[in-house]
Symmetry: C2
Subunit: 404 residues, 2 copies
């Protein structure tokens, strides 16, 4: 009899957002007349912008005509998009990244889940705590996490780096040496940003200790402060130790369109083995390129009109972030994030656990958020609200908070 | 120092189609004035059909408006598409597949590369020889293939099932018991089809021996003969032993649009472990759903107009297949395939090796095909031509063959 990958069976319960969806569905079934405001999952709500819509229509028309029809995309992405990204996201920020080092994909979630495949089975990984669940779960599935302790919520082989009020939600360097270090800044879920000199310390640590940093910069567009780096490659020597993952989801609103990219510099080598070549091989073998029409939509994000439209979307959501942050603060909540990030990270009131507050908020305000403990043990006692709702919903949610 | 997944380093050379692309690029650079006819990679050339184009434009318009905008798709696919697939591809053929057992994805290549993750690290896999390279390469990357013998082209832990003229390119049951059996019918690359009673024997073998069949039915739309099954679930008990992978690439011409699906029946269990639930967990953790606009395009393939347009595309390519097959036969080539498949599988003339014939054909006819040996040792001495060109190119290619 065949046997399954038993690492999958070690995963406790379901993916965080699936659990939330089930709880919300149960509430809706029991209370069909109540309107729910969803500030849980980090999904955008505003429509695609004009430049993107125009590019999509135009590319669809190209697919209707034999002379302009496109079949398989290049595995690693069309040159027109890779070159645009290299210029706008890197060269203009003083970072040397070649188009050939950019791998276009269908999103940051897939890339951040798949990237661990390039590393040895017994690699030790380090994650911030709390953290985006995909980093941990994808390594559990690969058998790198050891055993799960349901009492503490920790996996035995994962190195946790607590992000707490005390350290401003920016982890300290790990005491044990990891092989892979997952960093996400601006951070999901805490909304914390990292300063350039702080990030340089991580890069130096990685270079000195033979680690690879997986740098998730999906929320880069929300950075508003000057000394916060937009890319890990703004740090010296990051080309030798860091992979960067980017997304079109949160800036251009592509959560339902699916586009992202991952940078694997050619300088990132383990002896003779080039991680760049390995990732190219993975793309060539297990991936078939992002759709042409969607890569054209991605390209449209970089025109002057496209950039202006993204700034418009980001401002829209940041206004929500500010409303939620300031509103809750005025009500006496302890709140974080919201400055360089579309997330507000709040301390649950009255010593409630994260899930207790989730249930309480759903039942009494009909507002859905995300329990901090779902992101890791150090998230216990916290709660994440997203700014990705509409202005109306964000304000309405606050009014409901005020009545609690 | 971190270490990489050394299984990647065992892969010899590059992915087959990358090698071909490089050879063609070198030829083009050296002979910029020669026109090349590409009948190599199985990529379609005809534009998307009207019903699909209309659905894409309409869905793009929905994304432009806040009230109809869609963010994250359900991880497993929108119900509208899963229900349509269950009805048209299964219920109408007498197969019991619930919408909930259908996992929408961005294509059959990704799914056939990723599905091995669900199984134990030391699973033994069996593949037809020759075979679509993804099945083997994805298992090499996962460390299941053992060591490669460059002399023979075989991996030590893979069970090869030769598909030869003698067995009509339909493999016989393996002598050693595998855990996973990859089958692709109509076959890529040989173009062979399997009869229903033959496939039932595989299903019975899998049920009796505790194997899982990964059934790749990407070329199902090309079946023209009555007793050839369109789905493995036409066989009794297949729900207990088989996963089926389907594609929109070759029927609706979605190679550059990216849409496929995989069926994992709820009856497929290894003790308590449900492969259905495991695949759902993988989708939830490492995938983020196919784009809404592309799922709408997929739905449009199932309307009466959509079905008619697919039949039109399939007829178009099958006319090419017939022209190539009959033309080569008349010239004295030994040819196979083309009846239930868009591929023609020919014996190389004059005892040339597959790559020798590739180089000879490129240099003298400026026609690109795929060397049979690229699909496995038993493909040596064969060559694959696809019918996915235009009528004009297919005929022109034949004229060039005639002058050789």
């Amino acid at each position: 009899m065949y046997r399954v990958n038993e690492n999958y069976l070690k995963l406790p319960g379901s993916y965080l957002f699936s659990t939330i969806a089930k709880k919300v569905a149960a509430f809706t079934a029991a209370n069909p007349d109540e309107s729910i405001i969803r500030l849980g999952i980090g999904d955008v709500t505003q429509p695609l912008t004009d430049p993107v819509i125009k590019a999509l229509h135009s590319a669809v028309d190209e697919m209707a005509c034999a002379s302009t029809f496109r079949g398989y995309a290049p595995d690693l992405g069309y040159s027109f998009l890779r070159e645009t990204i290299a210029q706008h996201d890197y060269a203009e920020r003083g970072c040397r990244i070649d188009p050939d080092e950019i791998f276009v994909s269908d999103g940051a979630k897939c890339d951040s889940g798949n990237i661990q495949e390039l590393f040895a089975d017994d690699s030790r990984i380090a994650v911030c705590d709390p953290v985006y669940p995909v980093y941990v779960d994808s390594n559990v599935m690969a058998g790198r996490a050891g055993t799960y302790d349901p009492e503490t919520g920790y996996w035995s082989r994962i190195i946790y780096m607590p992000c707490t009020e005390e350290n401003g939600f920016v982890a300290e360097l790990p005491k044990e040496r990891p092989d892979l270090i997952y960093l996400c800044f601006p951070n999901n879920p805490t909304g914390a940003a990292i300063k350039k000199d702080q990030l340089q310390k991580w890069v130096d640590y990685a270079c000195e200790n033979g680690c690879v940093i997986i740098y998730d910069a999906a929320y880069e567009a929300y950075i508003s402060e000057e000394d916060v780096p937009h890319s890990v490659y703004e740090c010296d020597h990051a080309r030798e130790c860091a992979i960067e993952i980017r997304s079109f989801s949160k800036n251009a609103g592509f959560t339902g369109v699916r586009l992202g990219y991952t940078v694997v510099p050619r300088d990132l080598k383990c002896g003779e083995a080039s991680l760049h070549d390995m990732w190219a091989r993975r793309h060539g073998t297990k991936y078939n390129g992002a759709p042409y029409i969607i890569q054209k939509a991605g390209e449209a994000c970089y025109t002057p009109e496209g950039q202006a439209s993204i700034r418009g979307l980001v401002s829209y959501y940041m206004e929500n972030a500010s409303v939620i942050y300031n509103g809750l603060k005025d009500m006496g909540y302890t709140v974080y994030g919201a400055v360089n990030s579309p997330y507000v990270w709040l301390k649950t009131p009255g010593g409630m656990s994260s899930w207790e507050f989730f249930d309480y908020l759903l039942a009494n305000a009909h507002v859905v958020g995300t329990p901090g403990s779902g992101f890791g043990p150090s998230g216990e006692g916290y709660f994440r609200l997203t700014a990705f709702g509409s202005h109306e919903n964000s304000k309405a949610a606050l009014e409901r908070f005020a009545k609690l």
